[in-house]
């Protein structure tokens, strides 16, 4: 009458399998689709703010970040996520137009006070620019700027020369003798 009950527990005990996972030592295998802490690819972010607009809990704020892409827009801002409010729903990931915001498998985000678990772009960014790269980029930018200036100066000079030549050719027809005389005068004199 109650023997099935007793048999079931005895069978489970004799099989010896314990299903407890000893947690800090062993962490479980999470699937690829797992929604954990965000990862921001800073080279693709365009600072549009779609993630901040769609978040149901207003967790995302846009803040400036020095190691973003300095060439594009000096005033560009990047998302900062408050994990005290985030419910890991994934709407921000779906809305991002450049697919730069994704979610990783990290889920351990405890902190000692509320400010600790506000993760700015420095905490969630991958692909940020290192110092060397920043210097190189600045160098390139400067060179490009100089190049542009030089080209502009050359173009302006070329234009001026051309205008001067055209004018000289014009006047040369009219009083080329005068000019030539002046010139020769200038030369000899």
């Amino acid at each position: 009458m109650v023997l099935k009950n007793l048999k079931m527990t005895l069978k489970r005990s004799l099989s010896g399998v314990e299903v407890t996972r000893l947690y800090p030592e062993k962490i479980m295998d999470l699937p690829d689709a797992e929604r954990g802490v965000h990862v921001l690819d800073i080279r693709k972010c365009i600072g549009c703010g779609a993630c901040a607009r769609i978040c149901p809990n207003d967790c995302i704020k846009l803040v400036p970040y020095a190691r973003g892409n300095p060439l594009k827009n000096k005033k560009q801002q990047y998302p900062q996520i408050d994990y005290g409010r985030c419910m890991f729903c994934g709407l921000c990931v779906d809305e991002c137009p450049t697919s730069c915001l994704t979610m990783s498998k990290v889920f351990e985000i405890a902190g000692w006070n509320r400010e600790d678990i506000v993760y700015g772009p420095e905490d969630i960014a991958v692909g940020f620019y290192s110092d060397q790269e920043l210097n190189e980029l600045a160098e390139e930018a400067r060179k490009a700027e100089e190049e542009k200036k030089r080209k502009a100066a050359e173009a302006a000079k070329a234009k001026k020369e051309k205008a001067a030549k055209a004018k000289a050719a014009e006047e040369g027809e009219k009083g080329s003798g005068e000019k030539a005389a002046k010139k020769s005068e200038g030369e000899t004199g």
Binding site: K4, N5, P31, P56, M87, G90, L91, D94
Partner: protein
């Protein structure tokens, strides 16, 4: 089979002039605006002559721009036909009052109480118009009106006045400040009614009777609700039930969020059944947008919802077993271990274990990963074997049968009158399943049985749930065979969701019964009203009559066999 058009024409001929506007869309739903003074006669006619014997719910909408309140009554039938009648009544905003349907349908009681306390619409003829979800300080403030100015700030502790009530316990009251009264955030005209405690104590008749709280803070009730039982020795004389301890205001929150932002919030209605909640909401909005999800997305939705049903039934049965045994009862733990495999299958698709936010308007969020079919088929094989073992166990255990047979019997007519749905209704010999009554997704192409039992006692309810696990396994296997490849998101879904003005109602078979979402839109990007009609609301309403005359130990057996989820009641 009666169709909606037949009902409409019969109604128009029987009550000329009572029907102001009418529409049939989609094919089984009849939308009609009825004159408020004729509503009781219309409903009586529908109930007696056209078998509309299931009162599904009522929703109140605040149309502040037009100065009206609308109350929509939802009527359906327990199997005679598949038509759903949604009857709307308009009443002016200054003095709103409609007739109550409690004379015709017993379970209209709580739905009308909720509309009264939230919107201030008076229901004439209602026997007990007392607050249900709100605490006593808020009654009279009518929170769901569009011009509600907010909850007054009761945070200041030094404003608290201590009152010692006659039994010696201290109570605190907060007097409103002058600034609050001038700002108009404090209702200083409150309706008068006896409090819950007074209503209980009116029922004590003898010296040896006492009120025992299986109240909000109890060791093992599933979610906080107040259940007071009036006992005489070990027998229960009467039971009182009050809900509203975790009222989060989800419906009002969803009015202040866009349609897309509302999807994660519907997850949290009943966290065990997140996928069917998502489905109900997205289905209603899809009807408003007039788009349909592609086939692959529909198959994915079906697979995941049936997987979710398996894990919810395992947990529900396991939790119920801890109520009649202790928490160390081993089969409960074995069911939890099996459930982990099912959750891993769901997690590999959606990325989360309970709050999925997976269904989107016109499709789903992710596609099935590689290897999903093999993993799921292995899991289903294991679940079938284990569930067979659990069924045998519960059939052969004589202590369990002594506790459960003949306890909490719901006869079929009683179950229909009380308005329950889902496994308790099916355990009382009524094959009422939304997947057959109102086929959504692709259930009309699937081959499965609707499980019923004849006895209607607690043991039958648990057996129905365990048998439904087998049916769900069969449905998933069919879906995995038939699933086509293709897109998972419909084309032409707009980036900014702004449906045309209108209303939509969508029903699904939730794990606990019939769940419906009623969405009203007015062309802007936020809905005017979202009403979630949950199945457990009806269970709780039906519980006090069931508990009269049983032993104290049976109270938990009956309440547990209903498999309640309080979060859905309180929203």
């Amino acid at each position: 089979m009666t169709t909606a058009n037949d009902v409409l024409s019969a109604l128009q001929s029987a009550f000329p002039g009572a029907v102001e506007e009418a529409k049939v869309s989609p094919e089984r739903q009849l939308w009609a605006t009825i004159k408020p003074d004729k509503i009781v006669d219309v409903c009586k006619y529908l109930r007696d002559d056209h078998n509309f014997d299931h009162y599904s719910g009522a929703a109140g909408v605040d149309r502040i721009k037009e100065g009206l309140f609308e109350v929509t009554e939802l009527l359906a039938s327990h199997g005679a036909h598949q038509v759903v009648a949604l009857l709307k009544m308009k009443t002016p905003r200054d003095n709103p009052s409609v007739k109550s349907l409690t004379g015709l349908y017993w379970n209209a009681n709580w739905y009308e109480r909720e509309i009264w306390e939230m919107l201030g619409i008076n229901f004439e003829g209602h026997p007990e118009l007392y607050p249900l979800l709100l605490s006593d300080e808020l009654v009279g403030a009518w929170p769901w009106r569009k011009d509600y100015k907010g909850y007054p700030d009761y945070n200041t502790a030094d404003r608290a006045i201590e009152i010692v009530n006659p039994e010696g316990y201290a109570d605190y009251s907060f007097a409103p400040t002058k600034a609050e009264i001038e700002a108009g955030t404090v209702p200083f005209e409150r309706p008068k009614y006896p409090t819950f405690r007074e209503r209980e104590e009116m029922e004590i008749k003898g010296e040896s009777e006492m009120i025992l709280h299986m109240g909000p803070q109890h060791a093992v009730v599933p979610g906080p609700f107040l259940l007071d039982i009036l006992v005489d020795g070990e027998r229960v004389k009467k039971a009182f039930l009050d809900v509203g301890y975790i009222h989060k205001g989800i419906e009002k929150i969803m009015e202040n969020r866009t349609y897309m932002q509302g999807i994660p919030i519907t997850d949290r209605l009943c966290y065990m059944a997140a996928l069917t909640n998502n489905e109900a909401y997205c289905g209603a909005v899809e009807r408003l947008l007039r788009i349909e999800a592609p086939e692959r997305a529909q198959y994915i939705r079906m697979i995941l919802q049936e997987l979710s049903r398996i894990q919810s039934h395992l947990l529900g049965t396991g939790e119920f077993l801890t109520l009649i045994a202790s928490a160390v009862f081993s089969p409960f733990l074995y069911m939890i271990i099996d459930r982990e495999d099912v959750l891993s299958c769901i997690e590999s698709v959606t990325g989360a274990r309970i709050n999925h936010s997976f269904v989107r308007f016109g499709g789903v969020r992710n596609d099935l990963p590689d290897g999903f079919k093999d993993m799921t088929l292995d899991t289903l094989k294991m679940i079938r074997k284990k569930t067979e073992e659990y069924k045998e166990l519960l059939l052969s255990d004589s202590i369990y049968r002594k506790r459960m047979e003949g306890v909490g019997v719901l006869s079929p007519s009683e179950a229909r009158r009380l308005g329950v749905s889902g496994p308790p209704l099916r355990a009382s010999d009524t094959p009422y399943d939304m997947r057959r009554e109102d086929p959504y997704l692709l259930y009309k192409d699937m081959d499965f049985d609707v499980i019923t039992r004849k006895e209607g006692d607690s043991k039958a309810r648990v057996e129905v749930r365990l048998d439904e696990i087998f049916e769900s396994c069969y449905i998933i296997e069919q879906c995995l065979d038939q699933i086509p490849s293709g897109p998972i998101m419909a084309e032409g879904v707009p980036k900014k969701i702004k449906p045309e003005p209108g209303e939509a109602y969508y029903r699904v078979e939730d794990h606990r019964g019939e769940m419906g979402f009623f969405v009203v839109s007015d062309g802007s990007e936020k809905p005017v009203k979202v009403k979630a009609r949950g199945p457990v609301y009806a269970y709780f309403q039906a519980l006090p009559p069931l508990l009269e005359g049983v032993y104290i130990a049976d109270v938990v057996a009956i309440a547990g066999s209903m498999d309640a989820c309080t979060s859905e009641v309180d929203r």
